[in-house]
C-alpha cells in the first residue's frame, strides 16, 4: 500500500516535470501563426506565396534629396540613410506590397521611413503578374545596425501565416567615421530607378 502511494507520487512529479518541459520547449501561439520566411541573399530572387522580390543593391547616404511639389528638399537623419533598390513582381494575381523592414544584426527592426510619404515609388506599391517593377525601400538606421542586416518584405503588416521575404544583405565594412564604407554625402531620390 505504502509502495503504491510513493509510486503515485513519483508519477505525479514526473508528469509535472514533463508538462513543464512541454510548456517551455514548444513554440507559442504568436510564433506558430507568425510569418513564413522565404530566405535568400542580395542578388537572389526570393519567391514567396504571392510575390517575388529581388534585391539589387544597397546604398548608404548621409542625406537624401527629394522632389516635393517641384521643390527640392534635403532630408537629414540622426543615423544613416539606407536605400535598397528592389524589383518585385506578383506571381499569379495582382497584389500590393505594403511593408518593408531592416533588421539589424542585434535584432533591432527599423521600419521603412515615413518621412517621404509624398514620394512616388515608395511602399505600398501595386504589383501585377508578369510585370516586375522596381522600388526603393528607404530606411533610417543606426550605423552599427548596417552590417549583416536582413531585409524583410511582406504584403501587409500582420503577415500571419503568409510569406515574408528575408533577404540577407551581407557584411558592410565600417569607415573611419563610424558610417558604413561607401556612404555618400547625398543621394538623389529623383533619379530614375
Amino acid at each position: 500500500m505504502n509502495m503504491r502511494k510513493s509510486a503515485n507520487l513519483v508519477l505525479l512529479l514526473v508528469a509535472a516535470v514533463f508538462c513543464y518541459g512541454l510548456q517551455i520547449s514548444k513554440p507559442h501561439y504568436g510564433e506558430l501563426i507568425g510569418p513564413i520566411p522565404a530566405r535568400g541573399k542580395l542578388g537572389d530572387t526570393v519567391v514567396g506565396r504571392a510575390f517575388e522580390v529581388h534585391a539589387e543593391k544597397v546604398e548608404f547616404a548621409r542625406k537624401l534629396t527629394v522632389d516635393q511639389f517641384g521643390q527640392q528638399r534635403v532630408l537629414t537623419t540622426g543615423g544613416v540613410w539606407a536605400v535598397v533598390t528592389v524589383e518585385i513582381a506578383a506571381r499569379s494575381e495582382s497584389t500590393t506590397i505594403g511593408v518593408a523592414s531592416w533588421r539589424g544584426p542585434t535584432g533591432l527592426t527599423y521600419d521603412q521611413t515615413e518621412r517621404l510619404s509624398f514620394m512616388n515609388g515608395l511602399l505600398p506599391v501595386a504589383i501585377d503578374p508578369g510585370l516586375p517593377r522596381k522600388a526603393r525601400l528607404i530606411f533610417e538606421v543606426r550605423p552599427d545596425e548596417a552590417s549583416d542586416a536582413t531585409l524583410l518584405v511582406s504584403e501587409k503588416l500582420v503577415a500571419a501565416l503568409d510569406s515574408q521575404a528575408e533577404i540577407a544583405l551581407g557584411p558592410v565594412a565600417v569607415a573611419a567615421d563610424g558610417l558604413p564604407a561607401g556612404t555618400v554625402d547625398m543621394l538623389d531620390m529623383a533619379q530614375p530607378l
Binding site: G30, S101, Y110, E114, R115
Partner: protein, 197 residues
C-alpha cells in the same frame, strides 16, 4: 426557534470573520495604500524612462505664430510648444507616444490632443526608430483668451512590456500608469535655451 436563531448567529459570525480576514489580507497586500500614494515628482533636467521611451525635456514656450513646425494653428490663438528629446528603447520602430505626456488640465483643455512633430523636417507623428534620439515637439492649442503660463505640469505615463499578451499571444506594451509629474518652465519663445542637465 432558539436553535434556529443560534445557527443563524453562528453563520453571521463566520461570514463576518471571513470578510474581516479578507479585508485585512487585502490591506496587508497594499490594496488601500496604492490609491493614496502621491505621484513622484520628476526632475525635468534628468532623463525620464517610461519603459518604451527615454524622454529628455528640452524647452517649452508659447507661440502666437500662424505655423509652429509646419502645423497650422488656430488664427488668433496661442499654442504651447514642448520640445523633448525622445529615444525609442524598444527593438522596433514605433509611434506609441501619443499618450506618454499629458499636460495638466489647468493649462490645456483635456479634450485638446497635441500635434506631435519631428522638428528635423516637420513630419507629423512619424515612427521613431530604435536607439536613435530625435527632437520632437508637442504642440497644444491653448484655450481662447488664456494667458501664457509661467510654467506647466505634465504627467508622464509609463507602460509595461509583456512578452505575450492575453489576447493574441504577441509581445507588446500595455497597462499605462502615471509614472510621475514634472513642472516645466515656459520660456519666452522658440529661441529660449534648452534645459541643461
Amino acid at each position: 426557534m432558539l436553535e434556529s436563531a443560534r445557527s443563524r448567529l453562528k453563520a453571521w459570525t463566520v461570514a463576518g470573520i471571513g470578510t474581516a480576514a479578507a479585508i485585512a489580507v487585502a490591506g496587508v497586500l497594499g490594496a488601500f495604500g496604492a490609491r493614496h500614494e502621491p505621484l513622484p515628482v520628476l526632475a525635468p533636467a534628468s532623463p525620464i524612462d517610461t519603459g518604451e521611451w527615454l524622454l529628455r525635456p528640452l524647452k517649452a514656450y508659447v507661440t502666437v505664430e500662424k505655423y509652429a513646425y509646419g502645423t497650422l494653428l488656430k488664427p488668433g490663438g496661442k499654442a504651447l510648444v514642448l520640445e523633448v528629446e525622445m529615444t525609442n528603447r524598444t527593438a522596433k520602430s514605433t509611434k506609441d507616444y501619443f499618450d506618454v505626456l499629458q499636460a495638466s488640465p489647468a493649462t490645456v483643455d483635456p479634450a485638446t490632443k497635441p500635434f506631435i512633430v519631428l522638428t528635423r523636417d516637420s513630419t507629423m507623428s512619424p515612427e521613431l526608430h530604435p536607439g536613435m534620439p530625435e527632437r520632437m515637439a508637442y504642440i497644444w492649442q491653448l484655450p481662447d483668451g488664456a494667458a501664457a503660463p509661467a510654467s506647466f505640469n505634465l504627467t508622464v505615463i509609463r507602460k509595461t512590456y509583456k512578452p505575450r499578451d492575453n489576447l493574441y499571444g504577441l509581445p507588446g506594451w500595455f497597462n499605462p500608469t502615471p509614472a510621475g509629474t514634472l513642472t516645466i518652465p515656459v520660456g519666452a519663445g522658440p529661441d529660449s535655451p534648452d534645459i541643461q542637465p
